[in-house]
Subunit: 343 residues, 4 copies
Amino acid sequence: MVVIMEPGADESQIEQVIENLNQRGFDVHRSSGVQQTVLGAIGVQPGFDERIIRVLDGVSDVQRVTEPYKFASRSWKGEPSIFDINGVTVGGKEVILVAGPCSVESEDQINATAAHVAAHGATFLRGGAFKPRTSPYSFQGLGVEGLALMRAAGDRYGLNVITEVTDVSKVELVYRFADVFQVGARNMQSFDLLRELGRTDKPVFLKRGLAASIEEWLMAAEYVMSEGNQQVILCERGIRTFETATRNTFDLSAVPVVKNKSHLPIFADPSHATGIRDRVIPMARAAVAAGADGIIVEVHPEPAKALSDGPQSLYFDQYVSLVAQIRDIARAIGRSIATVAHS
Amino acid sequence: MVVIMEPGADESQIEQVIENLNQRGFDVHRSSGVQQTVLGAIGVQPGFDERIIRVLDGVSDVQRVTEPYKFASRSWKGEPSIFDINGVTVGGKEVILVAGPCSVESEDQINATAAHVAAHGATFLRGGAFKPRTSPYSFQGLGVEGLALMRAAGDRYGLNVITEVTDVSKVELVYRFADVFQVGARNMQSFDLLRELGRTDKPVFLKRGLAASIEEWLMAAEYVMSEGNQQVILCERGIRTFETATRNTFDLSAVPVVKNKSHLPIFADPSHATGIRDRVIPMARAAVAAGADGIIVEVHPEPAKALSDGPQSLYFDQYVSLVAQIRDIARAIGRSIATVAHS
Amino acid sequence: MVVIMEPGADESQIEQVIENLNQRGFDVHRSSGVQQTVLGAIGVQPGFDERIIRVLDGVSDVQRVTEPYKFASRSWKGEPSIFDINGVTVGGKEVILVAGPCSVESEDQINATAAHVAAHGATFLRGGAFKPRTSPYSFQGLGVEGLALMRAAGDRYGLNVITEVTDVSKVELVYRFADVFQVGARNMQSFDLLRELGRTDKPVFLKRGLAASIEEWLMAAEYVMSEGNQQVILCERGIRTFETATRNTFDLSAVPVVKNKSHLPIFADPSHATGIRDRVIPMARAAVAAGADGIIVEVHPEPAKALSDGPQSLYFDQYVSLVAQIRDIARAIGRSIATVAHS
Amino acid sequence: MVVIMEPGADESQIEQVIENLNQRGFDVHRSSGVQQTVLGAIGVQPGFDERIIRVLDGVSDVQRVTEPYKFASRSWKGEPSIFDINGVTVGGKEVILVAGPCSVESEDQINATAAHVAAHGATFLRGGAFKPRTSPYSFQGLGVEGLALMRAAGDRYGLNVITEVTDVSKVELVYRFADVFQVGARNMQSFDLLRELGRTDKPVFLKRGLAASIEEWLMAAEYVMSEGNQQVILCERGIRTFETATRNTFDLSAVPVVKNKSHLPIFADPSHATGIRDRVIPMARAAVAAGADGIIVEVHPEPAKALSDGPQSLYFDQYVSLVAQIRDIARAIGRSIATVAHS
């Protein structure tokens, strides 16, 4: 931590700051220039609130030196994290496709979708059973029946199952059916939930919150990891800005930023980021070109009849042509589309 | 709902849209101009996703006509909602003061603070027992012990107790100690929690999410109200924008906007909005001048030693002078500071 | 400037950074902790781009120590700047009212408005002659005729005249008619214009840009001041955020922030910030309560017939009741409404 | 325009709105449902301010039906606009590379850069002679000498020259040296400048403003086009959001959105969007994958010594490998890199 004193700070103010820092366990290095004094506070105090020092008399500004997260950082683990999830390698050279409907609606719907995406490059099946919806009057998902249908479809077509968990009370239930827990954007800072997932042994697919900075997102990953579960996959899905022409603003630059700051794999979700299917295809291509380790897209046998997010779900044939384009772009940057190890 | 067709839309496209709307239960009024056709879809379909129509061929745009919430709206209830909470009237002519520390830290701390704020205008005591913190390494609250200390302090000094509940699993526990449930900004869209609180008989103090539009905030209130609990108090506490000179951007215009759209009381939290105590005082004054029904501020006997949010907590004497200023401003707009009915 | 090296930075990287800083004229103080080395770069280099150091090998982060502006800062001038503008004191104890129509439309309109606002507390007349409009098809102002009408009305009713200048080529013309140059939000970073105004001897009323941080706003003031003209009045008028319920988001916290960082007077414009007249009144009250040195509001004899911004213009009687409320709030915080010295 | 009346609006209110619309030249179609009345206002009134109707008694909301721009819209011109700029085709199947330094600094610097980029795919040379800088103390460009150096380098290496013009007073001068006028993000709404450029016969490269919605950006293009100059090239360069890990947030979804709403070519600028050279390469790839018609990147012979924007400028060898990657991605989506017609 670096403490920058005001140009006019006097000696007693400087000493008071130094004493305060010492009491809190920091070693202090003092550096006095012509105009200003700068104090370097050496020591690791995770979660320290810099504003405690900033409000002292004579202090102009306080800057953190170390990142506030540990397990999620590149300085903790220099090499990219690679996870094997039932034979699929996540975070390596291969680009992962996660596909499926927004919500599980029926046995036919999930089976048809699973069969189609498994035949065209996907290794993970997505689908919601408990849906957090902005309106209490919207379709809220099939619940446990939806989980069972997804599990059966995943098993039949050789796909890993990824589905959302919204509350601590549902962790045990979802654990029984899913291969990967999804934490949605609205729950990115539901810390009770993150901790609980950190005590399980299944990977956590952590979407970025609508208003979350990249640093806060990595702090949310840290909540999971500090409990022992190191398998976190990050997923950029759009942030909230003033622009209303798209549902959210897809912050694809987060891909190279996260790769620089963290060893965790990062995916991208062009369906939620853009909200309209015709924009999903170019933005899925862009995500792969930017270096994403995987993409997650919504696909539905009859988007016009979907009970949720139909407008952003791809038609089956659109999905096929998307995969073909992505395959070429992956190749252009020296990667390929992942396939299941045993198939 | 109003459907605006593209200038070049042909008859078959228009008919397809009309048929689609009819199937979904809307009556359709058609209005054809020289350039464009506009369809009025009459009927109430709460939670309807307009994008379903927007993606049809020939459609240029779709606009919702009715608000997506019902119980929270002014059209449902024209008069302001006034709640009696143990003898304190919320939402009427009087301005409410909620004050207390960020976290309950010890019996001495909460008692000293409660005694002080009760002696100077406050009718509600705030304080956190379960703290959602950005970092897993920060102080997380005293838990149930904190709840018990708050309850005792509230009883001793004649203050209502308001405290945060972060998860469904804690609702029953918090219910036993608190007079009002607080839902924090990070949980504004934790729908399981909102529903559960909607089934209780205690008021819900609902903070605005960092990235929540006013409409989404009222939808969150609707989650509580649609379960039966009509006692929701809204609280503006700052939104996330590009400006970093303050912790958040205090959107005080939300006060007149909410008063226009809803009958629910609206409070403001200048402590979290600004993050630095010297800015709390002018912004608390501004909140009252803008018409807020109450303010919630952090006060601590020794801010420099607070375990959380010390930098934005007021000193005791600052709190006293703030109350004096607010009293004058309330009077200037024809209001007064609330007092407990029986005292 | 403080340079934070990465935990693993080696000696040759540290030396390269030191050498680089020395070459650019900085003295360097080195402070090595267990984990990391921190370098304090002492020296004043206005406009230095910190990224030059940030991209060097082994550097983790670079933090600026001094503010990037000089004349606009509190450290340059500790006392608030107070300007006398033809007998009206700006920036002192008194709160200034600037009122008038969005655009000058006719002699009758500007005279009626000037007479009304002069009779009720205003000391400055606002009005646009050259209007920057989002659409090329909107009313663009009366031009020089509008300037002449404003000047005449100002003289007749004893009001200072403030009007917008949009381009270097118009500075000389506007100078002949106005007492204060207004720079609009869209031109806050039109640096050619700012420099030109800095070479004149009339005050500059500088609105904050829609996407401008407070720091960039003060840098824009610095462009004017570095050319010699120290009379800059800042005006908060709303920033662009995700919230669409108001035209912009009125960042009233900017008032205490600016008062802390700068000695310049700060005004607020609730008309442009909110965009709808019913919200102008509560937010004008809030601005005064927050400590603004003045407010600027749009008033029109017949808002329904205004050629621009009618919906946010106050009716004459609304203006009168607003002034009464503001007078009480100013008194509550120890201020009063300014009056013309000689009247 | 569609006017939505409040549920409780009475007949006299409805009639007043209809009369008001008629007076302003609209034909009105009335559609009354069980709950609400909706009025369709038919007629084209460019630049009409909908708030005029929204503030009338009994009105709940007003929605625009037609886009506010004409020449820039897809409904005005269905096919993509393709411009021939001295033998280079912009807006067609080929992807354009614009490259060069941030600022022209010397004859050697601009010649070396021009030679290098011309040898590796670029058809346009970029470079600033008049630099709008946030700080008045930063390097402001070589002025007319810089223009002459760029022109000479462009001629020698067969590159079109694109450079920024910041003020009406400089249009004539820049016209003599440049092939394309660049309008920077800070000037996107400098309407005097846009109009002046609309009266010339050279293409305008219009960067998106930091806080500009896509609609406002197209309105800025309309300012140029409504004066007669139809050759506008749009360029996405990042918008301002809460995220500070990148200089701006690169809104790449703007590419498919603009292609849907307008016939104008759209480019992307990953250098200004990200601000750090290591992020320029993945984001340039992403821009091409998203469908951009061209990219503009900063390249410098010695980035560490650049007088402006060195940290985001590519080294010569980085530029070469970027072009190779882009070539492959363009091919993957059926496009290629443009070359000069006569070479």
